[in-house]
């Protein structure tokens, strides 16, 4: 058990660094989709609700956990859908085609720095 705990803590710390490294590279242009995308990701708490459902005893705990699972699901599904909608809007700009879209891409690479 002690071992697992140390492993979990290591994962926690390493994931923090990975997250920082990855997210630092996201350009300003995409900060709104980023926020809504990461929002969807913390809906991962739904797993906690699913894992605990079987220990619920009595209607009160059952109600609490159903709400928790519903909250988590709203968070995950709603978050990913709304992010997808937003990102699709950015994508439509690329239909301009040919040279212009190359320029756009270059401008974005620039942005990403």
């Amino acid at each position: 058990m002690g071992n697992t705990f140390v492993i979990d803590l290591s994962v926690l710390v390493l994931a923090g660094f990975v997250g920082y490294a990855v997210i630092s590279k996201v350009p300003n242009t995409l900060h709104t989709p980023l926020m809504s995308g990461t929002n969807a990701i913390h809906g991962v708490v739904v797993l906690g609700g699913l894992l605990l459902m079987h220990i619920a005893s009595g209607w009160f705990e059952q109600v609490l956990l159903v709400i928790a699972v519903a909250f988590g699901t709203i968070n995950v599904i709603g978050g990913f859908l709304v992010t997808d909608r937003m990102l699709e809007m950015f994508k439509t700009k690329e239909r301009v085609g040919g040279v212009e879209s190359e320029e756009t891409a270059a401008a974005l690479e620039e942005d990403a720095k």
Partner: protein
Amino acid sequence: MIAAGTVFVQTTYFIDAAYIVAFSLLIYGMTGLTGPRTAVRGNKIAAVGMAVAVVATLLTPGVWHGTSTAILIIVGVAIGTAIGVPAARRVHMTGIPQMVAIFNGVGGGAVALIAWIEFRHHFAPGFFPLRTEIFELFGAIVGSISFWGSNIAFAKLQEILPGRPIKLPGASQTIVNLALFTIAVASAVILLAGSHSQALFVVGILGVSALLGNMVVLPIGGADMPVVISLLNAFTGLSAAATGVALNNTVMIVAGMIVGASGTILTNLMAKAMNRSVPAIVAGGFGGAVAAPVGPASEAGGTVRATSAQDVAIQLSYARQVVIAPGYGMAVAQAQHAVRELERALEAKGVTVKYAIHPVAGRMPGHMNVLLAEADVPYDLLREMDDINPEFPRTDVTLVIGANDVTNPAAKNEPGSPIYGMPILEVDRSSSVIVLKRSMASGFAGIDNPLFYDPKTSMLFGDAKASVSEVTSEVQAL
């Protein structure tokens, strides 16, 4: 129902492996967000990662134990889907900040509820190892703060509550907040020490944290909301990671930490763009300009020059370079498509048109980019603040549409102003400025703007969409 322990896919090895696949997909998906071309795919990859995590969790032995477990899980997921899907489909792009706030809130709420169940269920002191309890309590406190804080942020952005700060008189707000925070932490420590009824105690902790969440966000003015939302986003992420440690679930830990990191980065960026420190924002009291500078700004005030759509059209048509500085007001009036039309009409006359995007234009980081993307404005016309500021002296006309605070020269010139030091779009350096505004009401931050009284500024009053369309047809008629 699958009998536990018999099938290969239910072994710990398989589930652990599935979790590793899941968090790899989440991280890989996030790396896609570094460029608009890969972003759509990145988001989908992350969603697949989440699906893998959910399936693996449902395969975990024991998850389906109990008579009504299956029904309850299905009911929960069904309710969540029934609410989440239509909400995500229907929301207008102007409403994204509220949407993010409320989604963030429910995430925090789920964390708090899970912590509650954990403590209700394992009364007996020592059932949990101490270290697990610490993380679970962290989740309870932070999740509860995040839930209530996000709901208040939602209500403010949705204008259910007024955007101005709502606070207790004087310094008592800070004292009350500190007291609540101390009570929450002290209760957590007492609970950890053992002998009390955990089930009751945790309710108290959740309640105090809930009150704290309300008390912290209520006094924060509307202008600081973007910072608050990203801060609460980071909080929810960290509380999810803490719950992950308590439940020994790697996917939750990794996912939670990514969100925590992202929220922290964005919070700092936002605070920097507004020249505000995060502690100062949390301490509250900004945004209402209760002590608004009665001095210089109002002295300069008085004469505002109104203009007509026809004059604006002439000025724009004979300009070499026009910069459009859009703000949230443009989005509220749904004028982004009309603005795009105007830009095309001007380009047809050989005028160079660029858009100046302030980092906090709109109501969250990058919000304006989304709104303009919705109107099909090509990104190569969008310029960030640092790139466009040197160009203003070479700009003939700057068209400020529904933006206010981000163009306020008081941020540069008036040390007494509440926004002094905030980086702005230096529109006052262009040859002339036209401000499109509904009325003389002040901006979201409630601060007077000397730009409007500048001799080279003229104002075009009215609904942004109607005004812009009128100007466009005048331009086309010329």
